[in-house]
Symmetry: C2
Subunit: 151 residues, 2 copies
DNA sequence: AATATTTCAACATAATTTTATAGGTTTTAT
DNA sequence: ATAAAACCTATAAAATTATGTTGAAATATT
């Protein structure tokens, strides 16, 4: 499949959830709360948050009163950063990132197609930040609210 | 991962291989030959070719002298058709194609992002045909040949 | 016409990766 | 001390990837 992995999807939702709690004097958000909000197993989120931390996209505070928070402003975290952290890359095929992955690159007829498609995706995910998603999301929710009020 | 599955990659290469043998009075190409050309296990190709046949992208002839051939002209087979046959869709996330996949679509902040990215991909794969890949591939091989001749 | 060969077709199984759950340990605030 | 939370390791379940084995159909050969 060309499907985004659950890591990528859940991880982005986790990051968006943290972004919603982002303020100048950030408070840590516990994974349990994210797990409930997003209906994702807390155990699985624990695994997903590890690479996000390693790649300095989130910070953690241990112990009671601890939790996780964004390492920087939502406007400074791109979707591409998240996917890169969780999946090692934003690319559709391994060979585009790692020339040694397949020794037929030089003659492969499909290589340029996957490469071009990867560029399309990468360009898109490169310019969308958590801030952008927050705004899109807020508009969407406001519109849905208005609609439900109307009837 | 956002990775294309092996089915999608191998299947496209299989189709491109058949396209290379396409003439008006087509001769069937045996899977063994494709397997050798592409360095993919015959057994696996046999599994991959089934959905391609079901979706009328290839035709098969049984018995000695048999094999597989494109069901129509390379210019009339789009990458999207191939991916659709092999993976059920061209989309990055299930929920874009199947509204019942997740019940949080109405409030999901990331939905629009995956949807927009899927549109980008789909538009691209929708307008690339096997004929296009053949031409890109031929140019590439010609250039590589010229280069090796030069030194 | 009978036989052998070639090829697709179908089914079963193994290996690997992804997805998910479970249990325990360490750190910190109260 | 206790409870809350991140952190760590192991394992189970499911899906993907890949191989193996046998069968069926069409063709070529004798």
């Amino acid at each position: 499949m060309i499907k985004l992995s659950t890591k990528g999807r859940y991880g982005t939702r986790l990051m968006l959830n943290l972004a919603r709690h982002y303020k100048n004097d950030q408070q840590a958000v516990i994974l349990k709360s994210v797990a409930e909000d997003e209906a994702i197993s807390i155990r699985y989120l624990e695994q997903i948050v590890i690479p996000l931390k390693i790649n300095h996209l989130v910070k953690s505070i241990r112990g009671a009163g601890g939790g996780y928070m964004l390492a920087r402003k939502p406007s400074e975290i791109r979707v591409c950063d998240i996917l890169q952290a969780l999946e090692g890359s934003c690319s559709l095929v391994e060979c585009v990132e790692d020339e040694t992955f397949c020794d037929k690159i030089k003659t492969c007829g499909t290589y340029e197609i996957w490469k071009a498609a990867t560029e399309l995706l990468k360009n898109y995910f490169d310019r969308i930040t958590l801030q952008d998603i927050l705004e899109i999301s807020d508009k969407k929710l406001a519109a849905a609210k208005k609609k439900s009020k109307a009837k």
